[in-house]
Amino acid sequence: FLARLHQRPRCPHSPAGVGKSLPERGLLLLLMVFVFLEGSVLPLGAASSPDVSHKGNVDNHQVSDVVHNHTKKAFPVLDLDYQHIQTPFEISLWVLLASLMKLGFHLIPRLSGIVPESCLLITVGLLVGGLIKLAGEEVPPVLDSRLFFLCLLPPIILDAGYFLPIRAFMDNLGTILMFAVVGTLWNAFFIGGLLYAVCQIQPANPNPLHTLELLPCLLFGSIVSAVDPVAVLAVFEEIHINELLHILVFGESLLNDAVTVVLYHLFEEYSGQGSVTVMDCFLGVLSFLVVSLGGVLVGAIYGIVAAFTSRFASHTRVIEPLFVFVYSYMAYLSAEMFHLSGIMALIACGAVMRPYVEANISHKSHTTIKYFLKMWSSVSETLIFIFLGVATVDGPHAWNWTFVTVTVILCLVARVIGVIGLTYVINQFRIVKLTTKDQFIIAYGGLRGAIAFSLGFLLDKDLFPMREMFLTAIITVIFFTVFVQGMTIKPLVELLAVKKKQEAKRSINEEIHTQFLDHLLTGIEDICGHYGHHHWKDKLNRFNKKYVKKCLIAGERSREPQLIAFYHKMEMKQAIELVESGGGVNLPTAVPSTEHPAQEASSAKPAERALPQLPKGREEEIRNILRSNLQRTRQRLRSYNRHTLVADPYEDGFGDFLLKKQKMIELEKKIKNMNNYLTVPAAPPDSPTMCRARLASDPQAYRGKPDSDNVPTIHVDLASPQSPDSVNMMDEFRQAGQQQKHQQQEEDQGLMMKPPSGQRGPKKPGEADSDRDQQKLTRCLSDPGPSADEDEDEPFLP
C-alpha cells in the first residue's frame, strides 16, 4: 500500500493526456491539492475529536482564566471554532471529495477506459487513508456499519428498485431466485465447509487456524459468498451487457440479501452455543421465508400508502418527491427493525409505488425524484468505495497466507461450479436458454463488495477471536473481485463477443429485411401470447385496472391514464417541435437522387451484376443510417445502463413511433401554413394516395383535398377546434379500431386516429390556428403530465 501511495502523487504532475486544456489541468491540480488538504484536515479534526477534546477544553479554560486574570479579554473578532461544526464539515468534505473524484476521472479518459471507476475510487480511499496515517493520526472509522447500512446503502437500493425494469425482472424471476437462494446457499456452505476442512488439515505446529471451528467458518462463508449489488452495478454499467444478463446478476445480488441476513443471524446465534440441531435448521428455513416475504410485504404496504398519499398531493406539488423518499426510507427502517430484509423491502416499495405515483404526481416532481435518486445513489456509491479504501488502510489486519488464498480460490471455484450447475437445471425450464457465454458473465460478474465488509465489521470480537483474519480475508476477496475481475471483465466480454459473432458485411437488403422479420416475429409472438405465462399476469392486470387503480390514482387519470399520459407526451413534443420549427430542422445532407440514374447508366452488363459504384462514403453512410435508425425490437439485445436514465425500449418505441407520425403531419402542416395561410381548412383528411404522395415529399400535394371521411388516416390535429381535446383523442383512439374494419390497410398504422366525420367543419383560417396553438401550448405547459417526460414511461403492469 505504501508503495502505491508513493507512486500516486507523481501522476498528476506528468501530463496525462495529449491536448489537455489549461482549465482541465487546473482542475486536476485542484483535485490533488484538495485530496492533500483533506488528508490534513481530517487529522486536525481527529485531533480535536472528543477523545482529546476534554484536554483541549481544560487547556482553553486555563488559558482563558490566565488571560482573564491579567487583562480584560479582548473581544474575539475572528475565532476558530472547529469543534462547533466538526461533524457536518467532515461529512461535507467527504461528499465533496467523492464528487470531485467523479469529475476528475473523466478528465483522464485513458485511465477511465481501462480501470473501472470503482477501482479508482478505492485507490483514492487508500490514498486518503494513507495520508491520514502518515500524518500520524487515527483514521476515522468511516465504514461504520451503522453509517453504511442506514445512510449509504438505502439510496443505491432505492434507485435500483424504483427504476427496476419490472417486466424483465418478472420474466426471469424464477432464474433470479434460483441463483439468489440456491446459489448463495451453495456458495456459503461450500466455502465455509471447505475452509474448515483446510484449516483442520493444516500442518501441525500450533496453528492458529486449528482453533477455527465449523460454525465460524460457515458464518464467514455466508458473509463472503453474497454477491454485492453496489459492486455489480458499478462494474456492469461500464461494460454495457444486454439487459437479460444485467437483470440476472443484479437481481440475484438484490435478492440474496434475505439469504445472507438469515444465514448471518443463524450462524452468529449458534456460534456461541457451538452446535446446530435439525430443529435449528428448520427454524432457519422458516426464518428465511419470514425474512424475505416479510420484507416484501412491509415494502409493499409502504408503497401502497405512498401511492395513496400521492393521490391527494395535487395541491402541494412541491413536497411530492419527499413522500417517495421518506416512505421508502421508512420501509427500509421498519424492515430492519424486525430483522427482515431491508433491501427487499426497499425494492418492493419502490416497484409497487412507482406506477401509481407516476400517474399522480406532476411532471416536475417526477423529474425531481429521478434526479435526486440518481444523484444520491451516485454519491453513495462513490463514498462507499472511497471508505472501503480508507478502512483498508485503517483496519487491524491479521494476514494469514493460507486462509486468505484459500478463501479467494474457493470463492471463484464455488461461484463457477454453482453457476454451471444451476444453469444446467434452470435451462430445463427456460425458454430462452442461457448460453455458455452468459454463464461465464454471470459467474465472472459475481463481485463482492462493501456489504460483506460491513457484515464482517459487525462481528463481535469476543465471540470471534479470528475477526481480524476474517476482515483481512474479506477485504482481499473484495479487492480481488473488484480490481481483477472488474478490470478484466470488459476485455473478456469483448473477446468472447468477437469470437462468437462472425459479422460479415450484410447487404442493405439483409439489414432491412432482417429487421422487418424481427418486427414480424415480435408481432406474432405478441398475438400468440407471451411465453404462456399470461394467465395470472392478465388476471393481475385486470385486478389492477379494476380496483387498485381506482383507489390509488387521482380522479379521471385512473381510467385510461396510459393513453392520456401518452397524449400529454405527444402534446409536449408537438409544442416543442412547433417552437423549434421556426428555425427549420437541421438534417444531415443527402446525396441528390440525380446521381443515381447517371451511375446506373454507366454500370456494367447485367450478367456480371456490378452494382453501380456509389462513392464509398455514401454506401457507408447509408449503412450507418440504417444501423442506427432501424427501430429495434424490444428484445433482450438492448444494452442496459443504469445511469443513462433510459428505460424500457417499449416506451421509447412508442414515443418515437408517435413522433414519426407527428413528423409526417408536421412537415405537411408547415408547408401548408406557409403557403395557404388564409384559405384552406386546417386539417383535411387525406386519402392513402395523398399519403403516398406525401412520402415522395412533393409539396404540391398538400392542397387540401376534401375526400371521403371514411378513409382511414393518420391524423393528429394540432389546431383542433374543440378544447376538450383529450376526450376527443381518446374517442378517436377507440374509434380507430372501428374504422379499420371498413378499409384495407394502406399504410403501417399501428395507432390510427381519424377525425370524427362531420365534427370538424371548415375552420377559421390562420389566426384561429395560431390561437389554438397558443392555447394548447399554455395548456400543456401548465398541465401536470407526469409521463410527459420522454424517457421514463412504464405500462402499469407490463
Binding site: S507, I508, N509, K660, L695
Partner: protein, 193 residues
C-alpha cells in the same frame, strides 16, 4: 396446459388441423385458449378490434400489416382454423419429417418467406415496388431520417436486389437477397416447438 383431452372436443376439426399444420395437441389447445382469450365477445371468430386489443401490437411498426395478414381478401373475421393456419407458418421447422406430412408444410422456408413477402407487398401484385418499400422503411426508421435519405436507401436496396431491372423486387429476388439469413431462426416462435 395440462388440461385433459376432453377440451379438444371444443375445437372444431382438431384432427384435421393438427395434420395440416403439424401442431401437437398441446399446442393446439394452447392456441385455442389464446384464441378464446382474444375473442372477447365470444363470437367464435376474431375481428381486427380483437387483434388491436393486444397492446403491444400498436407499437409495432408493422403491426397493422400483421393484423391485416390474418384477414384474407375481403374477409372481416378470422375463425380458429385460419388463425392456426397463419400461425403455422411460424412453427419451427421439423428436424425430421414424418411420413404423411404434407409435402410443402406451412412452416417450410419458402412458405415463411412468402408470408413475409406478402406483408411487404400490400397491393398483391407479386412485386415489392419502390413505394411499398418506402412505406415499410418509413415505418421502421427512427424520426431523424429525412425523406431524401429514405429515398436513397430504398433506391440502393432495390438496386442491390433487383436482378431483372424492373425496378421492383419479385419474390425470387427477395428470397435470393435473404439466402444468407437463417430464416428458420428468424421466423420461428421459440415456444411453439
Amino acid at each position: 396446459m395440462g388440461s385433459s383431452s376432453s377440451n379438444m372436443n371444443h375445437i372444431p376439426d382438431a384432427e384435421e388441423l393438427m395434420q395440416e399444420t403439424g401442431f401437437s395437441s398441446a399446442h393446439l389447445l394452447r392456441l385455442y385458449e389464446r384464441f378464446e382469450f382474444l375473442d372477447r365477445e365470444k363470437r367464435g371468430e376474431l375481428s381486427p378490434d380483437d387483434f388491436e386489443a393486444v397492446g403491444r401490437l400498436a407499437l409495432n411498426p408493422i403491426g397493422g400489416r400483421i393484423i391485416g395478414a390474418f384477414f384474407s381478401q375481403g374477409q372481416e373475421t378470422v375463425d380458429f382454423a385460419s388463425f392456426v393456419r397463419i400461425l403455422a407458418h411460424f412453427r419451427p421447422a421439423d428436424t425430421n419429417r414424418r411420413d404423411g406430412a404434407p409435402q410443402d408444410p406451412a412452416n417450410s422456408q419458402t412458405r415463411k418467406l412468402k408470408f413475409a413477402f406478402q406483408l411487404y407487398d400490400q397491393d398483391g401484385d407479386g412485386m415489392i415496388s419502390r413505394v411499398e418499400l418506402l412505406q415499410v422503411l418509413r415505418a421502421m426508421m427512427g424520426i431523424q431520417v429525412t425523406e431524401e435519405q429514405l429515398q436513397s436507401i430504398a433506391e440502393r436496396a432495390i438496386q442491390e436486389a433487383d436482378l431483372d431491372r424492373d425496378d421492383a423486387i419479385s419474390f425470387d429476388e427477395f428470397k435470393k437477397s435473404l439466402e444468407k439469413v437463417n430464416i428458420d431462426h428468424k421466423m420461428s416462435i421459440r415456444f411453439l416447438r
